[in-house]
């Protein structure tokens, strides 16, 4: 129904803070684009510029191919779900959902039909006569979603909509949002600082840092080929192990069958790409690293071994119950094709 295109969008706040420093993203029709990054990196600012709630300092925002820089939020035909839901506290759930339609002059019987349909989809039908304060956090979240869906807008905008829910509910709602978004086919932009949410929801994942896009693409591509040490340590939990090289040389106790790329300054590998030596017969095709276990964290299905190496601390992920104890020495093996190299500036070396 709509594409969203950002071209070199910048935002300088009145105080002189440059919150967004030139961001270009093309979001295809019906796609769910997730903006992820640490707190303060400008995600909300960017989202609010798409919504029309914040002026755009330079660059253009287009919806459906039309530049909307000077168009107000109402006319942009977007709907937004806020972090704290922003439900109207004095209105019943029904009126909260109907308010936007009433302001647009939708006929009464159509409003009624749409509100009741949406309420049914979201399992809110029995709550229509309640006020927001009579709802649980999860129900409020649904009402906020309903208020967005009922308007049938061109674009959905979500600003950390699940961050106030407990972990279990967050997991449920994540699946539900994904299903809803897919079945409604509405182009969406979703802001979060939670990389798991980002990975699971995104069609297009945009990793932001310091007002800039670090990397954009399909979530698994980003996971497999992080463009920088920032992305490598932000996406994935626990994050990628990064080992600083001293002038192109591997730290002590490390052996590698292949040569180190000439410009590399940092070596990275994911905790789950590690195999322990006794489980592997042939170490000749990868990197071989000595480590001493410092702590063991069993989480049931897998265990994390926090270990010290000549190049700093690493995390190793092993399936099931850990066989190692703190104090044990390990030989850590990583296949060559699972090694990531980054240069002095933190950029990926291919």
């Amino acid at each position: 129904m709509a594409t969203v295109d950002l071209k070199d969008v910048r935002k300088v706040y009145a105080g002189g803070v440059e919150a967004v420093k030139g961001v270009s993203i093309d979001i295809p029709d019906k796609a769910l684009c997730v903006l992820v990054g640490p707190s303060g990196c400008g995600k909300s600012t960017l989202l609010r510029m798409i919504a029309g709630l914040e002026t755009i300092s330079s660059g253009t925002v287009s919806i459906d191919g039309k530049v909307v820089n000077t168009v107000g939020p109402t006319e942009r035909d977007i709907a937004m779900v806020f972090q704290n839901y922003a439900l109207y506290p004095h209105m019943k759930v029904y009126d909260n959902m109907a308010y936007g339609l009433r302001n647009r002059g939708t006929p009464k019987d159509e409003i009624d039909r749409r509100v009741r349909d949406t309420a049914k989809t979201l399992e809110l039908a029995h709550l229509l006569d309640r006020r927001p304060r009579e709802l649980s956090g999860g129900q409020r979240q649904r009402v906020a979603m309903g208020r967005a869906i009922v308007r049938n807008p061109k674009v959905f905008l979500f600003d950390e909509p699940l961050s106030n829910l407990d972990a279990k509910l967050r997991g449920q709602m994540r699946v539900e949002i994904k299903n809803l978004q897919r079945s409604l086919g509405v182009t969406s932009v979703y802001v979060t600082h939670d990389q798991l949410e980002a990975m699971t929801l995104a069609d297009v994942l945009v990793v932001m840092n310091g007002g800039l896009v670090e990397q954009a693409g399909a979530p698994l591509d980003i996971y497999e080929k992080p463009a920088s040490t920032f992305v490598a340590s932000f996406i994935g939990a626990p994050p990628m192990n990064l080992i600083a090289l001293s002038g192109n040389a591997l730290p002590e106790g490390t052996k590698l069958v292949a040569p180190v790329p000439p410009s590399a300054a940092t070596l990275g590998f994911r905790p789950e790409d590690v195999e322990l030596a006794d489980a592997v017969h042939d170490a000749a095709d990868g990197m071989d690293l000595e480590a001493q276990v410092e702590a063991v964290e069993p989480v049931g299905a897998e265990s994390f071994l926090y270990s010290a190496t000549g190049g700093g601390r690493i995390v190793v992920r092993v399936p099931g119950r850990a066989i190692a104890q703190p104090g044990d020495r390990l030989r850590v093996l990583v296949p060559v094709d699972k090694l990531h190299w980054f240069d002095q500036a933190g950029k990926r070396v291919s």
Binding site: M80, Q83, Y88, P89, H90, N103
Partner: protein, 309 residues
């Protein structure tokens, strides 16, 4: 005069009730029985001391002038209730040119309502502008309003009187109310409240297509109703008990407010004063403020519970 402590009474009564409630909670924490009795005795004594003058005024308002002038005044109500009240309300009181107390009540009601409603409308609109709109010299306006806090009516009374009399507004409701309407206090109160409204709510309304007028009417006003109710009570009593300004602004007896008329009814020579009518007028003067407090109290207590998140 008589009605000032009277107007305060209901508030006193509720605060003592609150104290009573807390004392009872205290009892659960192990406060001894005897100290609870002592507390009650003290509180009841307090209520009696506050309420007795009002009761005595009521007693006096039900006796003939002769009974009142021949001490001691009985402690129980007399048989002149209907005679005295109908004479004052509809017959007119001689010392104020035969104006009936019903006229005074009407005048005072107009003045108190106009001041309360006018102040609320003006201050809620100015606070709305200052908090939600960016316009040139916004902060200048804010500070100008703030500074007028230091200029109550009494300080600017001479120039204000001059302006009003030049405009020919002596002995008019406009003259009585207009200068008392602009209110920095109420504006600041609404401003503080508006500042607590989350930015997300404002933005949600914008996304929902509510312009400035709709946002005010559909969201801000309903959310402010607790504040409005509380302010209304305070401002109504403020308007009802105005003394200095109505004294200056009215020459005609039939434009007097009840407080002014009450003052005029009392002569230095005891024999000239129709004390039974003075007592009736005093009683009638305290009833509307009490009613407003009682009615609005229920309203704003409910409001407080309603908007609680």
């Amino acid at each position: 005069m008589v009605e000032t402590p009277a107007a305060v009474t209901p508030a006193k009564a509720t605060s003592t009730a609150a104290v009573l409630g807390r004392k009872e909670d205290g009892a659960m924490l192990g406060v001894s029985r005897s100290s609870r009795y002592i507390a009650h005795v003290i509180l009841i004594l307090g209520i009696v001391i506050v309420a007795f003058p009002i009761y005595y005024t009521f007693v006096a308002s039900t006796h003939t002038l002769q009974t009142i002038l021949r001490p001691p005044l009985p402690l129980i109500p007399g048989d002149q209730f209907f005679e005295n009240y109908s004479e004052a309300l509809f017959g007119g009181v001689g010392r104020i040119g035969g104006v009936a107390v019903s006229t005074l009540l009407f005048n005072t009601m107009v003045v108190a309502l106009a001041i309360a409603i006018g102040k609320i409308i003006i201050s809620i609109l100015s606070a709305y502008a200052i908090v939600f709109f960016r316009f040139p010299f916004r902060m200048v306006f804010f500070w100008v309003i703030f500074i007028t806090l230091m200029l109550p009516v009494e300080v600017r009374i001479m120039p204000t009187y001059k302006v009003m009399s030049d405009l020919g507004l002596i002995d008019t409701y406009t003259g009585l109310t207009l200068p008392l309407m602009a209110s920095a206090t109420a504006t600041l109160l609404f401003r503080q409240f508006f500042l607590t409204i989350p930015g997300e709510l404002v933005e949600a309304a914008r996304v929902d297509g509510a312009g400035p007028y709709r946002f005010f009417k559909d969201i801000l006003l309903p959310l402010s109703r607790t504040n409005i109710a509380a302010l209304f009570v305070i401002l109504f009593i403020y308007g009802w008990t105005q003394y200095l300004w109505p004294l200056l602004m009215t020459n005609r007896n039939d434009m007097n407010t009840i407080v002014i008329a009450l003052k005029k009814m009392i002569s230095f020579a005891d024999a000239d004063t129709q004390w039974h009518l003075v007592m009736v007028t005093s009683m009638l003067a305290i009833i509307p403020p009490i009613l407003v407090v009682l009615l609005m109290q229920r309203w704003f207590v409910r409001g407080l519970v309603d908007t609680e998140k």
